[in-house]
């Protein structure tokens, strides 16, 4: 806290743009970070309910889930896991660069993070296309070994709902990361490190969701 300036005015230094409702910049940053953590708590409950439903369905159809899981594209799925984990590494590097105040490096690292995110999206969409080719898309075109068809339909229902929701979240993250990259390059923000940290929190959350999805969808019977 800038105890040197306990006065009430909204603006302390020319460089700091504090929103009208706040007294000072640290308060604003604290609020923004807390806000993101609480939002992530909401997200945990959102995906938590989904994983819970998945668990119930898997207990209902253990063999069908194992059989259906074999039809997911392990190569692309694993590649995507690697891509996303790597993107998180660059996110962390960007956070460190922002902390050190190296704007250009921050911007470049954020761009790499975002490009990896886009790569993930591209691979995922390719995978969806291949799933369609393999008749694995419920409603549109689905056929499966009749012994397991009922459970496999449920499995692929969950597959598309979970990965779809994940992809939506990832796209939001991509927008966030690229916006901050632009801001960092233009040298606009005065609280760059904090902004990048907030984007990073979200990015890592999306990453963690995938780390749960990957074994649930791709590794059921591949021990």
């Amino acid at each position: 806290m800038t105890s040197a300036n306990p006065a009430i005015g909204a603006v302390h230094e020319p460089a700091l743009r504090v929103a009208a409702q706040f007294e000072e910049a640290p308060q604003q940053v604290h609020a923004a970070k807390l806000g993101m953590w609480i939002f992530l708590a909401t997200e945990v409950m959102f995906f938590g309910a989904l994983f819970f439903a998945y668990a119930i369905a898997r207990v209902q159809f253990p063999e069908a889930f194992a059989a259906a899981s074999k039809h997911t594209n392990i190569l692309l799925g694993t590649t995507n896991t690697a891509v996303l984990l790597t993107s998180s590494l660059f996110m962390v590097l960007a956070m460190r660069a922002a902390e050190l105040g190296v704007r250009r490096a921050t911007a470049i690292l954020l761009v790499i993070t975002g490009l990896l995110g886009l790569a993930f999206t591209g691979i995922k969409l390719t995978e969806y296309a291949l799933d369609y080719r393999d008749h694995l898309v419920p409603v549109l075109d689905f056929s499966f070994d009749p012994r397991y068809a009922k459970g496999a339909l449920v499995f692929f229902g969950f597959y598309f709902v979970t990965t779809g929701l994940h992809l939506v979240h990832l796209s939001v993250g991509n927008g966030l990361v690229l916006t901050f990259a632009r801001r960092a390059w233009l040298g606009k923000p005065n609280t760059l490190a904090d902004q990048v940290e907030i984007a990073g929190l979200y990015w890592h959350f999306v990453d963690v969701v995938w780390i749960f999805l990957y074994p649930c969808l791709y590794l059921v019977s591949r021990t």
């Binding site: 604290h30 807390l34 806000g35 309910a49 989904l50 369905a57 209902q60 419920p138 009922k150 449920v154």
Partner: protein, 561 residues
């Protein structure tokens, strides 16, 4: 009183000062429609919410009135069975998600939390406006469903009826509730962050008014429970649209999974509705008795206990659903546990009257009405928590009566009490206390007429959601329907005299009730940024009789040294 805050600007009118001209405030700062629809001011957004939920209250109330008319005869001659089912569905959906859940948090909470903690606004004003637009978005879907022909699933959307069997516009309503859920989440997130980061200097946690404690606990539930509902609705949609077996056993799903997910949200949702009401009532009783709240810290901890335990009792909606008997026993036990802090709160409100100087203004009558009706609702909740009794009483009118005592007798009474109490602060006008007291009494009488007979109907075995019923239930149903007409009249009255006060009411002083609390230390209505100069808090809450401080308040004060 004036020692409550220091550093206040001299231009804040004190006590009963008579003002000749209106100083600039949040209402007269700008008059354009755009200045309302694009406002970031928490006070204006609170009013946007208040107007919207009032509209929905009367739509939901109209549905209820038609249901009660239909139930006046055993055969249900007023509407068809289909229509009746749509009426109770719309009544439930609208009253739960478009009135009760946003009622206190999004209006009074939105307006008062920043004022009470000495902040200029909520932490995220734009998010706050987004929350209202999400509410409007959700309401558009819901109204679209009504216009398109309605929905007949009941507000509980039980699968597989909602996913495979209902031929009505389920998806619209699911979308509406999904969207309005995010409105709740954003309001909750905003309140949590605001209470954590925006408190004025000297406003320690144990100096927060109980209203703020209640809003805080409610916000935590909103943020943690609502996403589970959102996902449940997504899954219902997936099953309904794409035939993926999640809940319907024919497709390989599990119908009890739906109930677990739904009640995991919807039981805490009951506390979303009633905790803020408890907060309001604590303020009203303390101010009207001119007495510190008895056991302030106990009251704060009770709020937190209710919020936490409220997450662990959802299975008590499922005692006869086919869930494991042992699960039933555990959930029954937890339900008795959550009743304890609620009981303690009732005792402490009663004890707050002790050695007070009680004035019986309209807000106090509403608050006392709340305590009475909440007590009856809570006590009958114990019947339903008792496993063997629940087997007989669940899904009967006993349950209907029980939750209306809590949600209407409790929450709506407290909401109206709060509106009357803070009306001078919000609008800068006084209303006719005589009319307001009359309305409060009329509502209390009408309410008991409407809902007490329903307890007896439930005990006699009349199931809920029945369009027609055996003739022996008619006497009590007619009584209930007659009460509903009194109740409907009672709800229309405040519209009239409060509306009148907006134009003809006397100008309100800053602190008409002689109450403590930062919101009464600024002018009525408050300026755009709430305080001419930011307040510094030096006193414990409810410092009505400084000499009669209870021990824990003294502790709280010492803790800050």
């Amino acid at each position: 009183m004036s020692s409550w805050t220091t550093g206040l600007a001299g231009d804040v009118p004190q006590g009963h000062a008579v003002r000749v001209e209106t100083p600039s405030n949040y209402l007269n700062a700008k008059f354009t429609i755009g200045s309302w629809l694009a406002t970031h001011d928490h006070k204006r957004i609170a009013i946007l919410f208040a107007v919207s939920i009032t509209a929905f209250f009367f739509i939901g109330g109209a549905a209820a009135t038609m249901m009660r008319l239909d139930l006046a005869t055993p055969a249900g001659d007023f509407v068809k069975a289909e229509t009746y089912n749509k009426l109770f569905t719309m009544h439930g959906v609208i009253m739960v998600w478009f009135f009760l859940i946003p009622s206190i948090p999004a209006t009074l909470g939105n307006f008062l939390v920043p004022l009470m903690i000495g902040a200029r606004d909520l932490a995220f004003p734009r998010l706050n406006l987004t929350s209202w637009y999400l509410y409007v978005g959700g309401s558009i879907f819901t109204i679209a469903a009504m216009i398109a022909g309605g929905v007949d699933t009941g507000w509980t959307f039980y699968a597989p009826f909602s996913t495979m069997f209902s031929n009505t516009h389920v998806i619209y309503v699911l979308a509406g509730v999904f969207v309005v859920g995010f409105s709740s989440i954003l309001t909750g997130l905003n309140i949590i962050v605001t209470v954590h980061t925006m408190r004025a200097p000297g406003m320690t946690w144990f100096r927060l008014p109980l209203f703020v404690w209640a809003q805080y606990a409610t916000a935590a539930i909103l943020v943690l429970a609502t996403p589970v509902l959102a996902m449940t609705l997504v899954l219902v949609t997936v099953e309904r649209l794409f035939g993926i077996g999640i809940f319907n056993p024919v497709l390989g799903g599990d119908p009890l999974l739906f109930q677990h997910l739904f009640w995991f949200y919807s039981h805490p949702a009951v506390y979303i509705m009633v905790l803020p009401a408890m907060g309001v009532v604590s303020e009203l009783i303390a101010a009207s008795a001119h007495n510190p709240v008895f056991g302030y810290k106990t009251m704060a901890f009770a709020i937190i206990a209710i919020a936490v335990l409220g997450f662990l009792v959802w299975g008590h909606h499922m005692f006869v659903s086919g869930q494991s008997m042992y699960a039933g026993v555990v959930f029954s036990f937890m339900s008795f546990l959550v009743a304890i802090p609620s009981a303690v709160k009732v005792f402490n409100w009663t004890a707050t009257l002790w050695h007070g100087r009680i004035t019986y203004t309209a807000p106090m009558l509403y608050a006392l009405g709340f305590v009475g009706l909440f007590t009856v609702g809570g006590m009958t909740g114990l019947f339903l928590a008792s496993l063997a009794l629940d087997v007989h009483l669940t899904d009967t009118y006993f349950v209907v009566a029980h939750f209306h005592y809590i949600m209407v007798g409790g929450t709506v009474s407290a909401y109206l009490g709060g509106i009357h109490f803070w009306w001078p602060k919000i609008t800068g006008r006084m209303y006719s206390d005589r009319w307001a007291r009359f309305a409060a009494i009329l509502l209390f009488v009408g309410f008991n007429f409407t809902f007490f007979p329903q307890y007896l109907l439930g005990i006699a075995g009349m199931p809920r959601r029945y369009h027609a019923y055996p003739p022996e239930f008619q006497t009590l149903n007619v009584l209930s329907s007659a009460g509903a007409l009194i109740l409907a009249l009672g709800y229309l009255l405040p519209l009239l005299y409060l509306g009148w006060s907006l134009f003809r009411g006397a100008r309100a002083p800053a602190n008409p009730w002689d109450a403590t609390g930062l919101e009464w230390q600024t002018s009525s209505p408050p300026p755009v940024h709430n305080f001419a100069t930011p307040p510094v808090v030096t006193e414990p809450p409810y410092a009505y009789r400084m000499a009669a401080l209870s021990r824990d308040v003294v502790d709280a004060r010492e803790g800050t040294r």
